[in-house]
Symmetry: C3
Subunit: 344 residues, 3 copies
């Protein structure tokens, strides 16, 4: 499409005002990273930091920040541009005009095995070899990729996508516009065993898992149901691959959990919490709204709203950075101390 | 059912003596957490610590510890109760009267693909799209949920449950009364490569995986077979989600491994070992009976029976706690040391 | 087969010269670990360290290192032997004569669902309930185990094996002679969300995943595709179970990643890098050729070629070992320092 058409599409949907250079109007056939761009593709520059790439890119159009000198650079090179205070956001909107992930066509594949008591909404797409057990309820426009298994009584909201080979267990309720990626398991039995003299007695897990709207769960991640009550994931929270969320966790809205994060039972988390990769949280800990845990942090105690913690056991990030700097000097400190002791 | 009926059922099976208050006999329709209880549900109080919740709960019946003052509180509020020295154990028994996880009905789904040389016991339940390869042997009452794949020659004991989409590879032998949760992979090839001048030479993994009776393996966990000999998991050991057990590990009975634990090759572990979440153990380490590893511990050396270890590399827990307390003061210690040096 | 036949087979293929003791020629029916060996099996001794096991083993033949005294020991016990400078490599070659993992016979199972536009090479083996979407291209001799799902447009090279229940997403290109183990997910959407005022805006992941030839990906591991460009895994790199490789990583050849390693986005790694279990690397870090990361290392900064790093944040291994030794003495150092301060 012409760059001008693309701009019109962006403008209508964008929440940020766009400045436009109308003088050049190339055909745009795709999107690209600025340092690997082909002609007739659109790319973006996040900030001044990447300004020098404007001088060498082969992209025909750029999304720029609101910095006149960058715009001048683009003009010098004959590159079409728009400018915005959120280049990455606008670029994300632009990608969606050139690429949409594969979706099944609405319809039910003849190899799917669907219990007669299951209820399917309008325009659902059910792939090959899908199994849907008794009493499950799927909303309108739900897309279930091949080999997914849905246990009895599961509820799934409108337009939610289940990728291939994921499993949704009984007592799971998934909201609208969610994406469950391949191999994820939602609603499986919590790890509940009571120590008894003979070893371990299984506690049946009779609770529920609730995913609110627009939650994403990454590939091969697992979210367990509890013995009692619910495991709940708040609206718009995004969970990466290979994450484990144990029975009874209560997660807020708009949280982000990176790959291989692990939450033990009954963790309570406010909105907009960010957990970097491989973070672990022990059971019953509370994490305040907007808190941040650095990669590999091991959290044993409550974290205050807005606090950033690091380390195992996790401590305030700034303290960790200072203490770690000294950690590297421990051998030398030890020698100094011995020396001082001798000289006393 | 009437509370009195429930008590009779518990009494017949329970190993702990129960004290009963016969004066009130409500209908019990379900179980609940004490702080979220609805009327006509049964809940429990583990110890004095949660005593104040008796004053506010809406539960109609409680399982209490053997503490007369708690029983008096329940009587004051008109709540039926039984008392025992193991409230959580008795509650776990009670849940099972109100909730049982979904099981397939015995029978073989017509979409299952079963090799004619496979042997199936009495009353097996084989779900849709299950694949069972040549020579596999399934005991009586085995339940195989949809989309499970069983490779040739696998053996599975009586009443074992395989949840949806798990995979059991050749040379795996699973005992009776085991539960393999969704997406788990048992008996896959160990990660065995020999460094050669051209890179890595694959060593074929010709050994076996043996799961003894009553083992549970969590969702998306993986247990590899070795090049030679066996990988073995002892009776009644319980393994949580996303755990990795490498080729040749020898795990004792009644062990507990929490989520995302990782064991490198040939780890040897006694009975009743407890590994908290995200613990890692390097290859060939021996862990003594009853040892405990704290969350995120990285174990590089043998651990003695009964010892608790923490940290990376793991050290005795008490030492770790003391050293960590000082770690947080390292910046201040460093300053002090510099000052002392100057003033010398 | 006779030991002499086995030797001939090894000799023809082996790159290391073999010394042979021709005096004894037992029948060899299998392979075994030296300490668990049965008569008529072949075992091996890696080095002097395990020499005492020659005195007690029941193996009928041994692969030995080039050490005359070990050969003399074997002769004393009437054990046949060959000697080489790479016993483990030759043993790996020998195993393959006694055990080959299960492969499907060429052919297409009648329950597989294959889009008419998919192209299948000669001698492919497609298992039960496999789903292959539009435009996928599979090379000659590809083996696809049951319940695998292949999204549209995927390319898979000759002789590659896909184990049961793995999922290959659109825009993935897998080379020849690769092995993708059960439950692995290749080419899934990268974890790309742009922070916006309302929460998180999904960035469509329009890039590619490329696995070069002879790559192995372990069970339930995940490799994501990026928004732009490629995620690429170099030739002959071996990846263990439950590993997560995020969008845009560029991994060299002949690398090794042990279980539960996690790579954030756009990590760049040279050839022959070794990552031990549970290592984590933050985004955009560069790891030089031949570098080694110890188990559980958390890498926040670039690592030089050949360097070994340990700890969180990772530092040079030798420094880590020294600093850790002092860490354990921190409580005592703290007391000493207080004492010195008082006595000043």
């Amino acid at each position: 499409m012409k760059f001008s058409e693309l701009i019109q599409k962006l403008d209508s949907g964008a929440s940020t005002s766009l400045m436009v250079n109308p003088s050049i109007n190339p055909d745009i056939v795709g999107v690209s990273a600025i340092d690997e761009a082909q002609p007739n593709t659109l790319s973006y520059v996040e900030s001044h930091k990447y300004a020098n790439q404007i001088a060498t890119t082969s992209a025909s159009a750029l999304i720029l920040p609101l910095q006149p000198e960058l715009q001048a650079q683009a003009i010098d090179r004959g590159i079409a541009w728009i400018a915005t205070d959120q280049p990455r956001k606008v670029f994300a909107q632009a990608i969606a005009f050139f690429y949409q992930p594969f979706r099944l066509e609405p319809g039910i594949h003849h190899t799917a095995v669907i219990h007669p008591s299951a209820q399917l909404g309008a325009e659902v797409a059910i792939g090959a070899h899908v199994v849907i057990q008794a009493g499950a309820i799927l909303g309108n426009g739900v897309c279930v990729h091949p080999n997914v298994v849905i246990y009895p009584g599961v509820q799934i909201g409108d337009r939610t996508i289940l990728h291939a080979n994921c499993v949704i267990h009984e007592r799971a309720q998934i909201g609208s516009d969610c994406v469950i990626h391949s191999g994820a398991v939602i609603g499986s039995e919590g790890f509940g065993f009571v120590p008894v003299s003979e070893g371990w007695l299984k506690m049946q897990q009779s609770g529920y898992v609730i995913l609110e709207d627009s939650v994403e769960v990454g590939c091969n991640s697992t979210i367990d149901r509890p013995a009692l009550g619910t495991t709940q994931i708040g609206r718009n929270t995004k969970i990466d691959n290979l994450v484990h969320i144990a029975h009874g966790c209560q997660i807020g809205e708009n949280c982000i959990m990176a790959g291989q994060v692990g939450l033990a039972g009954a963790v309570k988390m406010g909105n907009r919490v960010v957990l970097a990769g491989q973070v672990g949280i022990v059971d019953h800990v509370q994490i305040g709204e907007g808190a941040i845990a650095s990669a590999k942090a091991g959290i044993h105690h409550d974290v205050k709203p807005g606090e950033q913690v690091t380390g195992v056991p996790a401590i305030p990030h700034k303290l960790f950075v200072k203490a770690t700097a000294v950690f590297n000097r421990l051998p030398e400190m030890y020698q100094t101390l011995r020396q001082l002791q001798k000289n006393r």
